[in-house]
């Protein structure tokens, strides 16, 4: 299987789906000649032309609203928000409009659209270009929130996202863009709402999303040499969240740590933990459940502070050790 980057995997999905389905089109800022701020749509203007690769003015609310309108008429728009932070400028359209339509109109309307948005810190882009807002988006029933951690998942989930009849927020992480992994060239989909055990282990369940999956896997590898076997569960879709897979994992390991880059307070770790401790699985828990989120602060510009603001491998390792060694 060819190895390609996370960025390339998403691009491949868009490319192939545009070839397969002529209703699919792209819209967003600087996605044409420039190829998008991160180069993800590079070459797509040449291939598909201006009618299907629409460069927009800097108007996030109307970019998303345009996708809604077109989706209502059966098109399959894939909008790009240059940074996830800018979803806040279009949140009325996403949350009050797109998310509600199917329900509010009694099931008579569907809004098949995807909004792509790279989030996360690590590039020195400071407070307004580095947020992880997936927990915020999970507050709107009617929005599907996808958040892949590998090139393989990214492609398969993007194909599912475009084919899904409902609005999808497709959350990417800028630090993952350059990460390589095996990706089949052909068509395949990954079901929405299904978590994956990225690494099996008997001692502790670590639930993590996007870049934290990679960090957790690195830590798991290291601890395995000491005989600590970490199970890493990647929800892949944040909403609907596959709590079943998580519950089963915790039932086996008896320990739980949830890790995300999003700010800890109000972050989705709380949701996972509530599901676990409120279920019959509670009886199987051997140690206090733990969470490790981003610090509750805006992301700082300075690189030392920026790193300190979000969980690093050393922090994850410390949390795992504390759990398995029975330290509170």
């Amino acid at each position: 299987m060819p190895e390609i980057t996370y960025l390339e995997a998403i691009r491949q999905a868009l490319w192939q789906e545009m070839k397969r389905d002529e209703r699919v089109f792209l819209l967003g800022e600087d996605i044409g000649r420039y190829g998008g701020a991160f180069g993800l749509t590079h070459g797509m203007l040449d291939e598909f032309g201006e009618e299907r690769v629409l460069e927009t003015p800097i108007s996030e609310a109307t970019i998303v609203a345009t996708a809604i309108g077109a989706a209502l008429l059966g098109m399959r728009p894939v909008a790009e928000l240059m940074f996830m932070d800018f979803v806040l400028l279009s949140l009325d359209q996403l949350a009050n409009q797109a998310a509600k339509m199917h329900f509010m109109f009694g099931g008579r309307a569907t809004v098949p659209m995807v909004v792509r948005m790279p989030g996360g810190s690590g590039s020195g882009a400071a407070s307004q270009h580095s947020q992880s807002l997936e927990s915020v988006l999970m507050q709107f029933p009617g929005l599907i929130v996808i958040n892949p951690s590998t090139p393989y998942d990214a492609k398969g989930l993007m194909l599912s996202a475009i084919r899904n009849p409902n609005p999808v927020c497709f959350v990417e992480h800028k630090v993952l863009y350059k990460m390589k992994g095996e990706v089949p060239e052909g068509d395949y989909t990954i079901p929405i709402g299904v978590a994956e055990i990225k690494r099996p282990g008997r001692d502790i369940t670590v639930v993590a999303n996007n870049v934290m999956v990679i960090k957790a896997l690195n830590v798991a590898e290291k601890l395995s040499k000491e005989g600590i076997e970490v199970e890493v569960v990647d929800p892949r879709t944040m909403l609907p969240l596959d709590t079943e897979t998580i519950l089963q994992s915790v039932a086996r390991t008896g320990r739980l740590l949830v890790v995300h880059e999003a700010c800890q307070t109000g972050g989705w770790a709380g949701e996972v933990i509530a599901s676990v401790v409120g279920s019959p699985i509670f009886d199987y828990i051997d140690a206090p459940v733990r969470r490790l989120g981003g610090k509750d602060i805006p992301i700082p510009y300075n690189r030392i502070l920026e790193k300190a603001a979000v969980p690093q491998e050393a922090d994850i390792e410390q949390e795992i050790r504390a759990s398995v060694e029975g330290r509170i």
Binding site: Y34, P57, T62, G124, S127
Partner: protein, 345 residues
């Protein structure tokens, strides 16, 4: 009331007669002209130094450089008072320098140091100096435009004489809040000077493809706001327009809108390969329309300064920047133990 000179009738570029006439009309002193020149040189050196530091791997974050656009920043600063308020956008170094910011503190912030204006929390895109009524740059395109309504409102409520200058790019004018804000400042006759720095591109999007009807400034008509569109690479023309605008605003007549046509030399930000604009276009602006070159020619021709003085001022400006880098590099990083400072919730 409105004039549209932005397209810069070609024969005007370099016309010394026009320059002389304007300078006389505006009663500009030699000192103020030399001041403009010094400001522009300082900004230019700051931007080239920033680029150099970035290339040397000394900058972790992003930056947006304004080389080529110096005349707008300088022209504004001469028309306003030091205590007038400034709301800036991401491409803000020039405006801050022209407003009199401490260049050492700017450079320290750019390098993420604790001594910087924002203690290393903000970086290039968020420099602010509240002590000098500089309300800061913004990473959200258009984010400052509606805030100017509030600043203008407070100035009016507090019966103060200061005005609010709000600067943004051609691209920002397409955010919805632009229109909400225009309507409200006009409705409430607020003391706000909106300045659209039209450098022809919003990232890679050229303004002709992004704006349905040009000039952008004519949109002010829809809200009954007087406007002008000027050659933003002619510092005296910029000053002229800003002076008219500021007089209008200070006399209590409400907001004013000026669009300044200019051009940026560097890519949009750190990762830009300039694929969206022809090399010849960049070269044309650099060779034939450079704001510093044009202004220097006039200063020499009018014998306001001679060649030697011009070089000396330029060299002094460069020294200021070199000193600022020395200061910034010698400054410590913020301590990790201070991570949670300035966080209240």
């Amino acid at each position: 009331m409105s004039k549209d000179k932005g397209k810069g009738s070609e024969k005007d570029i370099g016309s010394h007669k026009l320059f002389d006439k304007r300078v006389k009309q505006l009663k500009m002193s030699d000192d103020s002209l030399i001041g403009l020149y010094r400001t522009m040189c300082t900004v230019r050196h700051f931007e080239y130094m920033a680029d150099k530091l970035y290339a040397a791997g000394k900058v972790h974050g992003t930056m947006h450089l304004s080389a080529g656009q110096e005349a707008v920043a300088a022209g504004i600063s001469l028309a306003v008072q030091p205590d007038d308020y400034l709301i800036n956008h991401h491409r803000g170094h020039g405006h801050f320098i022209a407003k009199g910011a401490d260049i050492n503190l700017m450079m320290a912030e750019f390098l993420g140091k604790d001594a910087g204006y924002n203690h290393g929390r903000g970086g290039s895109m968020h420099i602010a100096d509240f002590q000098s009524n500089n309300l800061g740059a913004n990473g959200i395109v258009g984010g400052g435009i509606p805030q100017a309504v509030g600043v203008g409102l407070a100035l009016k409520m507090q019966k103060r004489k200061e005005i609010c200058v709000c600067i943004f790019g051609d691209g920002a004018a397409n955010e919805g809040v632009f229109h909400e804000a225009m309507n409200m400042v006009a409705l409430w006759k607020l003391p706000v000077l909106y300045i659209c720095e039209n450098n022809k591109y919003g990232m890679s999007m050229d303004v002709d493809r992004a704006v349905a009807k040009l000039p952008i400034a004519q949109r002010a008509d829809a809200y009954g706001i007087p406007w002008a569109c000027v050659d933003g690479n002619d510092v005296v023309e910029v000053y002229d327009a800003m002076k008219t605008a500021v007089e209008h605003i200070r006399s209590g007549k409400g907001p004013y809108f000026v669009e300044a046509i200019t051009y940026r030399y560097f890519g949009h930000s750190k990762s830009d390969r300039n694929l969206y604009r022809p090399k010849e276009e960049i070269e044309d602006w650099k060779q034939n329309r450079d704001p510093i070159m044009r202004f220097t020619k006039h200063l020499l021709q009018s014998e306001i300064i001679d060649e030697g003085q011009a070089q000396e001022i330029n060299a002094q400006a460069e020294q200021v920047i070199i000193k600022a880098v020395e200061f910034a590099e010698a400054s410590p990083e913020p301590d990790v133990s201070t991570l949670m400072e300035y966080v209240y919730a």
